[in-house]
């Protein structure tokens, strides 16, 4: 589905990604782990075309997307849930959802299906997004991305600062997407948040892939975990 091959990316002269590669497959949850500043967010932005890629290539279902203008990339079916949610705060819940629908040229039916996943949003359609609680904001950010009808879903630390019930809900939705054959790339900082849902785990260190493994491996081999998570 998604192939990121040996990409370099930089902010101005500061190089952040150095020959990083990952592969995400349909119906699979790929978890990216790594310390603060490792380059996880930059990787997702590079996939979305929001950060210039200076080397290597990115393909989606075999189509080269590395050099596409950023606004053409979501049209190919990539739903992005940015770190910190990045809702359109002054817009209403309904308007945020509308933007997701427009991005994927989706209709009322998709909207109804997504709202069924998050009934709380359905009760707050007219409310401004920045007046929602943290958990509701994360629901909206997720709903906005799902409204695009994605075949690839990128989530950047969706559980950051959420209470356990909300984390469980997000995890449930992610599993549901996997069951529908969506390829999921889930960025997290905490290992324990990941082991339960991940099909594969990739550690990113200093803008490079440091380890690509199965979650069982990490569970049975704590030394491995310790080396990459460190303390």
């Amino acid at each position: 589905m998604l192939k990121v091959e040996a990409i370099d990316a930089a902010y101005g002269r500061v190089q952040v990604l150095r020959g990083l590669s990952i592969t995400a497959r349909a119906g699979e949850i790929l978890c990216l782990l790594g310390r603060n500043g490792a380059g996880k967010t930059t990787l997702l932005k590079a996939i979305m075309g929001l950060v210039p890629v200076t080397g290597g290539g990115i393909t989606l279902d075999g189509t080269e997307i590395t050099a596409l203008p950023a606004h053409r990339i979501p049209r190919l079916g990539i739903g992005y849930i940015p770190q910190g949610r990045r809702l359109f705060g002054e817009l209403t819940v309904a308007e945020n959802i509308e933007i997701g629908l427009m991005a994927g040229r989706q209709d009322r039916e998709t909207r109804a299906r997504v709202l069924a996943l998050f009934p709380r949003l359905g009760e707050r359609l007219g409310q401004r997004a920045d007046t929602l609680s943290g958990g509701e904001q994360q629901m909206l950010a997720t709903a906005r991305a799902l409204c695009l009808g994605p075949k690839l879903l990128l989530l950047d630390e969706p559980t950051e600062g959420l209470q356990p019930s909300m984390i469980a809900l997000i995890r449930e939705v992610v599993r549901e997407m996997r069951a529908r054959g969506v390829a999921v790339v889930l960025v997290e900082q905490r290992v324990d948040a990941v082991l339960e849902v991940a099909d594969r785990v990739v550690f990113i260190e200093n803008g490079r892939t440091a380890l690509d493994t199965a979650p069982e491996e990490l569970r049975t081999n704590p030394a491995l975990l310790h080396r990459h998570v460190g303390v």
């Binding site: 929001l50 203008p69 606004h71 053409r72 359109f88 817009l91 308007e95 933007i99 906005r144």
Partner: protein, 308 residues
Amino acid sequence: MEFGPHLMLAVLEGLVQASVLTLTALGLSLVFGVMRVVNVAHGEFFMLGAVLAWWITSLLGGGAGLAFAAALVGAPLMVGAIAALADWLVLRRVAYDPERTIVATIGLLYIFQQITLMTFGPDARPVPPPFNTRLALPWFEWGEGGIALYWPWGLSITSYKLFVIAAAPVVLVALWLVMTRTRLGLVLRATRIDSETARAFAIPVEQVYALVFGIGAALAALGAVLVVPIRQAHYLMGADPLLLSFIVVIIGGLGSLRGTVLAAVLIGMSDGIISVFFTPTLAKIFATLVVAMVLVARPGGLFGERRT
């Protein structure tokens, strides 16, 4: 004339000013709000609107009404297209960097001014108003039997000026409907709030910017077409609307359309009234003082955004 009728006359002049200024300043505010671009060439789009209105009306000749209607539609469209092109060729190239766009739009200012001087010439040129009936207005006085209406000599307004006064609210409502009720408005608002996330949701931000720059310029041009039957078209006429629009946008609060409208009415009215009673120069001094005082009391303007 007595004070009452004189004041009424001044208020009407003020409303004419306020109407034109509202449209012009709204264009500047829209461009700054959505694109974060300080458009120093905004006054030149106003000037181009006036000059093109003259060009269209003199080209068509014939009935003043039809020629003016053509100018009212054609000049803003043409100016909007010129601005969108300037955005695509210049502002996009400097990646909308705040400092470089200021320098770039200063460059555009001189380019537009000199091209106009070379083609249109240095003379001021009139555009005939499409209709210009003088309407006498009544005033009242307290008599023995209560209020009595009478028609003071000299208290009148032309039908054209009434048309100008009515134009701003009509355009405002139309703009408001577009911004709040249409998909285009939703796209514009989302881009204004967070252009990066807008891109991540398939919004072609560069195209949106070109469109917004065009709409902003077209609003200035519309204000100019309205004013040109009252004041003539001249290649240097962009300076005053630029200054006043900046004053309005700063007082209203950067990026706030509501604040812009309120400040435009305030500044336009006071400009018109002070010009009638005293001099236009005193009006500009007053407006500049108001800016200074607002900025001391409320650095973000009356409706300033409190974002970082």
